[in-house]
């Protein structure tokens, strides 16, 4: 087997590892540092995550063993055959850019973005089979009566800042802020006092599995990248080097994208999102509103009264 064939076969094998990594039992973490479990449970009335019982070091050791074992090169034919599938499963030659995790607004000067690796221990615990704290994303949407909207928007933004949160988006009729998860409930109640709440939706999403899966795939992708870098160092021919570099670029892009997704998930867990809108509901989207058969009810309001 000449060098070129051997290089491409190894690259394909590495890609296969990357693709199959999601099925493995090991977990990879953005950083291996042990930290106290930072999952901040929102206050009473919402499910509270349980404390983690695992540490980063223990889980890392297990992961290393797993990866060492699975990193053993499969037969060349098998690696070549799986190359195409691996490419597809890892995003192929995707050209999309990595999602940019939302950065705290400059106006939210008090905001402290979640530290990298926060809640990662939850994912580690999953691989160790221990009880782990769930990674919960809290979201609230409020629709308020359209009165003194600007003042209410200002007050909402200020409340978010005071709580250590930050502004995400704001226009004339709505505002989205992020609040540290531990202060979600209190902030929500304070915001609800700003105006007449016409509708309130609060939801919670458990992203533990999603995060764990992403972390594992990231670790596997990084293993693949290391192997590709080793191959690149050994490549003698320009053609071989170019081929490996192409794969290296693709894997790097996948890694960056996954890192971005992990960062976003960490931030969504650490900071709950509250959106407040001051918009009249379009009459043809009444949803669950009661429709009484009295047409004159629809004639009430300033629009008609002030039309002289």
């Amino acid at each position: 087997m000449n060098v070129a064939v051997r290089l491409s076969t190894m690259a394909a094998g590495a890609l296969t590892l990357l693709a199959l990594g999601g099925c493995g039992g090991g977990a990879m973490y953005a950083d291996g540092a042990a930290r106290p479990m930072p999952v901040a449970p929102p206050a009473a009335g919402y499910p509270s995550p349980e404390p983690a019982t695992t540490t980063a070091e223990a889980s890392d050791a297990e992961d290393v063993a797993l990866f060492d074992e699975s990193a053993a090169a499969p037969p060349a034919k098998q690696m070549v055959a799986q190359s195409a599938r691996a490419r597809a499963e890892t995003g192929g030659a995707a050209t999309g850019t990595a999602p940019t995790p939302p950065a705290p607004s400059p106006t939210g000067t008090d905001a402290t973005p979640p530290s990298p690796g926060a809640n990662v221990e939850a994912a580690q615990g999953a691989s160790a089979g221990a009880v782990v704290a769930p990674m919960l994303v809290y979201t609230a949407n409020l629709r308020m009566g359209v009165y003194e909207a600007r003042k209410a928007l200002d007050a909402t933004e200020q409340l978010a800042r005071d709580a250590g949160g930050y502004l995400v988006r704001r226009d004339d009729t709505s505002i989205t802020v992020r609040i540290p998860a531990g202060r979600f409930q209190g902030s929500l109640e304070a915001i609800m006092k700003i105006g007449d709440v016409l509708q309130r939706d609060v939801s919670v999403e458990d992203v533990t599995a999603k995060y764990t899966d992403l972390a594992i795939r990231l670790r596997n992708a990084e293993v693949v990248r290391e192997r590709l870098e080793q191959l690149l160092a050994k490549a003698n021919a320009v053609k071989d080097a170019l081929e490996v570099e192409r794969e290296l670029a693709r894997v790097t892009e996948v890694i960056e994208r996954m890192k971005g997704q992990l960062k976003l998930l960490r931030e969504l867990v650490a900071f709950s999102t509250i959106t407040v809108s001051f918009e009249a509901k379009p009459s043809d989207h009444l949803g669950s509103s009661v429709h009484l058969p009295f047409p004159w009810l629809g004639d009430l309001g300033l629009g008609r009264l002030l039309s002289l």
Binding site: L292, L300, G301, L302
Partner: protein, 154 residues
């Protein structure tokens, strides 16, 4: 003379007796004519655009004051996006108890106030509406309260 008086008398009777209520035009307002086509039984305005109006609706199907108050509150909040700022019981000169709903709503990004006072009898629902910019409504609050108290149904 009698020929001239009869049509005038008839017109006056039609205008005065056509409404099942009596209301006085508040100071600073002028009464507008032919408001039925706009959906009002009576309407008056100030030069600055503060408007008061009365609707006389048949109480059919017959419902109590609380029912109609709640229906109006829901309609304005849920459909119109109005913010309910307050609710209070009121009494007119006849001793009839009604409810005043006080709403806030931004019009062209300016805060406006809108009140609906509901009086209900066996056969009528009277809606007394007042609306305008927040400043005008607050400046004319006393006149508006007197207007509501002076209202009487038949």
């Amino acid at each position: 003379m009698r020929r001239y008086l009869s049509p005038i008398l008839l017109a006056w009777l039609l205008a005065g007796c056509g409404h099942a209520f009596q209301t006085a035009t508040p100071p600073g307002f002028v009464e507008l004519e032919d408001q039925e086509s706009y959906g009002y039984d009576w309407r008056a305005t100030t030069a600055d655009g503060l408007v008061v109006a009365v609707r006389d609706i048949a109480n059919e199907p017959k419902g109590p004051l609380e029912f109609w108050t709640r229906a109006i509150e829901n309609s304005l909040r849920q459909r119109g996006g109005y913010a309910l700022l307050g609710r209070r019981d009121v009494k007119n000169a006849q001793g009839l108890t009604g409810v005043e709903l006080r709403f806030g709503h931004d019009e062209a990004q300016k805060p406006h106030l809108y009140t609906v006072t509901i009086f209900v009898t066996d056969s009528h629902i009277y809606l007394l509406e007042a609306g305008g910019s927040k400043e005008q409504m607050e400046a004319n609050a006393k006149e508006l309260a007197r207007w509501v108290q002076g209202f009487s149904g038949k």
